[in-house]
């Protein structure tokens, strides 16, 4: 009788806790959210599923009601706010961490640093050969993210000053694909969140003051704000499900959650 009762209680508890809250959106935030979710679940705090697709995909899912939390590497757009209002959805914005965006090239590339103007020239197609920026006589191959990506939007605004990417730029569906392509193509250049940088690619030093100071992307330079290409990473959630999502969001914002931010290679909110 006792065993049956215990089994029934366990089943009820499991059934109650088995509904996973969903996170969807930014590819940049995937490694962070996956690690946070993993630890959150290991500690028995609840169930979380995390999928990517890009910041735009996350916002669409929030509007459609197919996700509780949209993760985004850019701020919500006015059009998306209007659609949420039309759908009767009130939302809250939370900054979960910061990210330094690294410009990466193939490790065999002799170039170690570029100015913002040079990066703009390369990504817009005005600069077509590495020799034009002091490198080898090698055609530049530009890799970029899809237009639904918040990282794409951020680079277009911050680095390209709203100019268009070159029509020859190769669009990749995910950050991992950029790392793979850049590592396999000698003349390649791309951009990825700092957490994705590994030994297969080389991160460049960047100058936003026309070559006076070149800064390498790192957590330290992002935290002391010397690295110029940093941005907030957001969670947006439907206020209707505040009770359900707050345990996870509070966990991410807690000292333990921010330690995970640091470990995965993102920039925590505060030291």
């Amino acid at each position: 009788m006792k065993k049956t009762l215990l089994l029934m209680i366990s089943l009820v508890v499991l059934a109650g806790g088995s509904y996973a809250q969903k996170l969807k959106g930014s590819d940049t935030m995937l490694p962070l959210s996956q690690k946070e979710a993993e630890t959150f679940m290991k500690e028995g705090r609840g169930n979380v599923t995390v999928t990517g697709g890009g910041s735009g995909v996350g916002f669409t899912a929030l509007i459609d009601g197919t996700t509780e939390i949209a993760q985004a590497s850019r701020a919500i757009k006015m059009d998306e706010k209007l659609k949420l209002t039309e759908a009767g959805i009130s939302y809250k914005e939370v900054i979960a961490a910061y990210d330094a965006l690294a410009m990466v090239v193939n490790p065999s590339n002799s170039i170690n640093e570029l100015t913002r103007e040079q990066l703009e020239g390369i990504y817009t197609g005005k600069i077509k050969n590495w020799k034009e920026v002091g490198g080898a006589n090698l055609q530049i191959v530009v890799y970029t993210r899809e237009t639904s990506s918040g990282t794409y939007e951020f680079v277009k605004t911050s680095v390209l000053k709203n100019k268009n990417f070159a029509s020859s730029a190769l669009s990749m569906p995910a950050t991992g694909a950029i790392i793979q392509s850049v590592s396999q193509t000698k003349g390649a250049i791309g951009y990825v969140g700092l957490a994705y940088v590994n030994k297969e690619v080389k991160a460049l030093k960047v100058s936003y003051d026309k070559g006076k100071n070149f800064i390498a992307p790192s957590i330290a330079t992002a935290m002391n704000k010397t690295y110029p290409i940093t941005r907030p990473l957001y969670y947006y959630y439907n206020t209707k499900v505040t009770k359900k999502v707050m345990p996870y969001i509070n966990y991410v914002l807690s000292p333990e959650g921010q330690q995970i931010v640091l470990k995965v290679g993102y920039v925590p909110l505060s030291k």
Binding site: L82, T85, N164, T239
Partner: protein
Amino acid sequence: MKKIFKLIAIALLVMTIKPALAQEVEGTPTDTLGAAINKLQSAIELMQRFKITGYLQAQSQFSDSIGNAFAGGAFPAGTDKRFKVRRGRLKFAYNTLLTTFVAQFDVTESGFGTKDMYLVVRDPWTQTVSLTGGVFNRPFGYEVAYSSSQLESPERARFTQALFPGEEDLGWMVTIQGAKTSTWNWLRIQGGYFEGNGINPASKKMKDFIGQISINKASMDEKIKYGIGASYYDGGVLETTANTYVLNNGIYSKDASQAAGKFAKRQYVGIDAQFSAESGLGLTTIRGEYLNGKQPSVAGSANSFTANPTGDLYLRNIMGAYAILIQSIKGTKDQIVLKYDVFDPNTKVSGDQIGLKATGFNATTAGDIKYSTIGIGWIYAYDANVKLTAYYDIVKNEKSKNLAGYGSDLKDNVFTLRLQYKF
């Protein structure tokens, strides 16, 4: 001999094993999973090209008198209340990067009809220039092309309903707008030639030109969005009789320069503006349009034709305008709507001039009466699919002691309660 047989046996064995091994290498779980995912992805990409959407608007309306009111169609005589399926739409769309096909149908208790039926072909190099052909929204102003499912007021402004009945027309149009990734995406230029009779297949020799330039931008911090546009309509209505009347000193006289077979000028110029901003209150949206021009129609009404006319034409100088304020209440599913719209179907006559008679001339009529409407509404977004609208139209008409029935303001205010389902 034995050695030869052994060698043959070994060779046969190797030939059997090698393909088997090769199959094992090709068939690793990761490869199999990858191939399956690729197949699924291709299937999903194909399915994503095809979309079915639709909406239904069921409503109750109450007028403050019997048989007088107009709100998305005149009230039938003898009633001040009605139930109606105001709109029932089913839309099928197929999209590729360079082409689009759309078929939209109107399905209500009144029957089944075509609403949109068009194709779009975009240039393959920049996706900046596109050609649209079929039955689609006239490129004039803002409200004409604004989806009826998104309209915050139950109906479009009176002048929009009068001048662009049904919103759609039959024709061809070229659109120039940078691709979504282009720096020029905020600018759109559209122009085309249309039959001018709405979706009815009534042809005439002279086609109507409709053109529009519009810009749409958001601030860098995405807290403000704004747009402005300018539109132009240049066309004509076929004169099928020898009698076309123009206004002279407040009364209609025959225009000797017109004749059967000629075209009476139909010409409008319009401007529109939109502004949305986020604040502590919520999202605030203000939109407005203004139009003036020349309108050929019949004696008793300034509405546009939906077929080639069969009677005498009356030429009017018209003016229409509206302004609408939509305020969402932060943290709620509610929006408040305030709208003012005015339609003067004949700017050259007013007040007691309307209805004045003179021998040998035709008097102005109810078709020359100016209307202004103040609308107050509340919208509740139950969820992403369902919306409830409660809206009250306060309608004021121009008064004339010389026109029977228009000595005072008509009792034609209307309260609309509408439930919409959209998918």
